[in-house]
């Protein structure tokens, strides 16, 4: 197990380096001149363009730029973005907010998703089942910006129950509505996955045996069936945590969250390689760690899977 963990952690190193190289190159290959939009409705003066390109090493070939970046990275310096901010400092401020948002979304997704899934699965074919199907269908078919704007207008402005936007403090109360909006889509998928998986397992032989032994229906469902049914759901939820952190761009925009999605969006628009690579590399790292956690949870849920 320890060996397995070590191997997985070591595997992350080449993955991360590969990811930074790829992102750096993709950003480099984007068309356009980063100084083009920096001077309002006019071209920047040639002096400034020359200074800017020199300052950010944009006058060097791609590979030199990348090696310079890696060199700084080894010293723990993530560089300075086009807004003259330290990337490390920006990430330090923005990541906690985005992580908070993603965790709220995942907790909401996991709790209500499982609840709805189990409810529908146990009452297969009955009203509960159809209700969950219809509700999740509605959520799946609604784009996140529609859901977000509607929630903002209805719950935030008309009813005044929750804050309309998120301030710089990014408290849990403020993040509640965006978190729910962000988690709503995955909630629908999680509920459906749980339901399908549960229904399948409820027909299995060992469940019939358990029932025949005279165990209470609750124990049969929760202990015997649900645990086995959770494998695909856990995989899905783990993956969705990573996706939420990177994919929160729309939600962060609607609710004005100064998180990592907004930062990545800005960096891409500005063709700001240094800011982009730093932010995305951290996302990749989080994704890898979440995947590792999910793999480890497997063996906990299903004794047949072992990482020895």
């Amino acid at each position: 197990m320890g060996k397995y963990l070590l191997r997985r952690v070591l595997q992350m190193v080449p993955t991360l380096i590969g990811a930074t190289l790829l992102i750096y190159w993709l950003n480099f290959a984007l068309p356009g001149d980063p100084t083009a939009g920096r001077c309002g409705d006019r071209p920047c003066s040639p002096t400034y363009i020359a200074w800017f390109n020199h300052e950010y090493h944009l006058d060097q070939p791609f590979i030199v730029q990348y090696v310079l970046y890696l060199g700084r990275l080894l010293h723990g310096d993530l560089g300075t973005d086009f807004y003259s901010h330290q990337v490390l400092h920006e990430l330090a401020i923005r990541y906690p907010t985005t992580i908070k948002l993603a965790l709220i979304a995942v907790v909401f997704e996991a709790f209500f998703g499982l609840l709805a899934g189990v409810w529908a699965g146990v009452r297969q074919g009955q009203f509960a089942d159809s209700a969950v199907t219809v509700a999740t269908l509605l959520l799946i078919s609604m784009p996140v910006f529609v859901l977000g704007s509607l929630a903002q207008l209805g719950i935030g402005i008309r009813l005044g129950w929750l804050p309309v936007t998120v301030s710089s403090r990014a408290t849990v109360i403020e993040l509640l509505m965006p978190g729910i909006v962000l988690g709503a889509l995955s909630l629908a998928y999680a509920a459906r996955l749980t339901r399908t998986s549960l229904v399948e397992n409820l027909r299995a032989d060992y469940v019939r045996t358990a029932r025949a032994k005279g165990l209470s229906p609750a124990r049969v469902v929760v202990v015997h069936t649900l645990r086995n049914s959770l494998l695909p759901v856990v995989t899905y939820i783990g993956g969705s945590l990573g996706a939420m952190m990177g994919g929160a761009i729309v939600t962060e925009k609607i609710f004005n969250i100064n998180g990592i999605g907004a930062y990545i969006y800005r960096a891409i628009n500005q063709k700001d390689g240094v800011g982009l690579v730093g932010a995305v590399a951290c996302l990749v790292l989080i994704y890898l760690l979440v995947n590792l956690l999910v793999d480890l949870l497997y063996s906990l849920l299903d004794p047949r899977i072992s990482h020895e």
Binding site: G37, Y48, W51, N53, H54, S168, I254, L296, S306
Partner: protein, 551 residues
């Protein structure tokens, strides 16, 4: 392996995950100090802010996000009237010149910086020399081009300031006479220099600025010291806080004690917050809220509108790029075929004012009706179009997709199709930078969007940078020797009225040559919360904090 052991390991990896998360977001939250005194009589307002693109230094701030903040914190030699943009003396006691070339600037004694030191002549001269010095990479350095000796402070052609450093560190055109007097010598006659000196780039810097050893004056920019009515007390990535400067020496103080600019990444979010009274003011509204005057019903009795020095137009691609537009009759026809009144009414709900010339009405020297080709006349347009032999192929109208320009561009296109019978299509670039890039490279045929926000309220600012031969923002490669001569004559005129008359003659030449077709002048819309009883907007689209009255 037992279940409990597995659980322990899973928990351990969970801890590892948390470690990874914290590695990416290592603590150090902005301390969010709210300078207490909720019960006290401190008054405060919040204003939509955005992330400044450059450090908060006067000569490196050329966009609204930083400009809105510096507008409240910096005092300059000249102050622009919050209502009319008319220039008046602020730090300067007098600015005089016998010939529009050599200028003597006298400062008011006892004008204080926010650190308590006095604003002296050297604070201007040294600040301007620092800003113009090539290796310092100040984006607005070119504003000092008018000063004699500017060229000596620039790095070589390569832009590599280490290999080819500038010849000098100080401009020969600036001389300190005594503590309260300095002289400026311009490269050529510049009759409107006085008006220009109110632009942010010309702000003075205290001695503390020059004492800062950090790279690019980053430490100073994090807590700038200026001489204006408000002190910048905190600059974080999520908000910028300004406190009233108690010992402010000028005549244009603010009314509230504290102004906070929370950073918004999205106009709609800020708009919704003002509607819900969570934010006090926003100076730019999302395009969607203008449709059907939604903004006026969303924030009833809490809105305002102000004519600002912004001019929107369509540039004709230079004849070298698009020979189809080389014929003057073609350009006249296209301009005449557009019913600007209809578009400003239908598309903008009156939020734009039809342009009748190339100069904004907010500046001194504006003359209505300079553009006779802008008067809608479909019959004459069609006749001119036929005489020019028709446009070969499809006429493209280029706009950037991130600025809400698609709708009016479609309307212009449709009118051209209906009135001239040509084929027209709207081309959209993903963002403004891409459009700017294509303009710089002269890649586009047809028409492209041109917007111009004045730097300083002078008729010259709407003509010289845009249409003088070889000027930096001359995107159409327009060149008319007669136009250039008129501009330099106007610049040499020591009498304002004479200068304006010459500038107007130059503007008339644009009507003859039509390098750019004017569309409309911008009005800025703003809304405010129910905490605010009154607020005014300046012709520069910023809020006038001297006019704020709380409810």
């Amino acid at each position: 392996m037992s279940i409990s052991k597995k659980l322990a390991l899973s928990l351990a990896s969970g801890a590892l995950l948390l470690a990874g998360l914290t590695a990416c977001g290592a603590g150090d939250n902005p301390d969010g100090v709210s300078t207490g005194a909720d019960g006290a009589a401190l008054t405060s307002v919040t204003v939509r802010g955005c992330t400044p693109q450059h450090p908060l230094l006067p000569a490196s701030t050329n966009e609204v996000c930083g400009g809105n903040v510096l507008d409240a914190s910096e005092a300059k030699l000249i102050h622009y009237d919050a209502d009319t943009a008319a220039p008046s003396l602020d730090i300067a006691e007098s600015i005089e010149s016998p010939d529009a070339i050599t200028w003597t600037v006298k400062l008011k004694p006892g004008y204080l910086f926010q650190d308590g030191s006095e604003v002296l002549a050297r604070n201007f001269v040294d600040a301007w020399n620092w800003a113009a010095y090539g290796p310092n990479g100040q984006v607005s350095a070119y504003f000092f081009e008018v000063i004699d000796g500017y060229a000596d402070l620039q790095c070589g052609e390569s832009g590599d300031c280490e290999a080819e450093p500038p010849a000098k560190e100080a401009m020969s055109g600036l001389t300190v006479v005594d503590d309260h007097t300095f002289t400026i010598k311009t490269v050529s006659a510049t009759s409107n220099l006085k008006v220009r000196l109110g632009y942010t780039a010309f702000a003075p810097q205290p001695d503390a600025f020059f004492a800062d050893e950090s790279e690019g004056k980053a430490d100073f920019a994090a807590k700038p010291i200026a001489a204006g009515p408000y002190t910048i007390t905190a600059v974080t990535d999520t908000e910028i806080v300004l406190d009233r400067f108690a010992d402010y020496s000028g005549d244009f103080p603010g009314t509230v004690d504290k102004v906070t600019f929370p950073v918004y990444n999205d106009l709609t979010a800020a708009y919704q917050d003002v509607v819900a009274n969570n934010l006090d003011m926003t100076d730019t509204l999302p395009a969607g809220s203008l449709v059907g005057d939604l903004w006026k019903s969303d924030a009833p009795d809490r809105w305002g509108e102000k004519e600002t020095g912004v001019f929107q137009a369509l540039s004709f691609a230079p004849a070298t790029v698009d020979p189809g537009l080389a014929d003057i009759k073609m350009r006249q026809a296209i301009s005449m075929a557009v019913d600007r009144d209809e578009i400003t009414k239908v598309v903008f709900n009156g939020a734009r004012v039809t342009a009748t010339g190339w100069v904004s009405p907010v500046v001194d020297g504006y003359k209505a009706g300079a553009c006779s080709n802008c008067v809608f006349d479909p019959v004459k347009a069609k006749q001119l179009y036929d005489e020019a032999g028709g446009y070969p192929g499809t006429l493209d109208i280029w706009v950037n997709g991130d600025g809400g320009h698609g709708e009016w561009a479609e309307a212009v296109c449709n009118q051209l199709v209906n009135n001239l019978g040509l084929a027209c299509s709207v081309q959209t670039t993903p963002n403004f930078a891409t459009l700017r890039d294509k303009i710089n490279n002269r890649e586009m045929t047809g028409l492209y969007r041109a917007g111009w926000q004045m730097d300083y309220p002078s008729i010259e600012n709407f003509l010289a940078p845009l249409y003088a031969t070889g000027a930096p923002s001359n995107d159409t490669d327009y060149s008319n020797p007669e136009f250039d001569v008129l501009l330099s004559q106007a610049a040499a005129a020591t009498d304002d009225a004479a200068a304006n008359a010459l500038y107007q003659q130059a503007e008339d030449l644009l009507n003859v040559d039509m390098p750019v077709m004017p569309l409309w002048y911008q009005q800025s819309q703003f809304i405010y919360s129910d905490r605010i009883a009154q607020v005014k907007m300046t012709p520069f689209s910023t809020f006038d904090f001297g006019s704020v009255e709380l409810a």
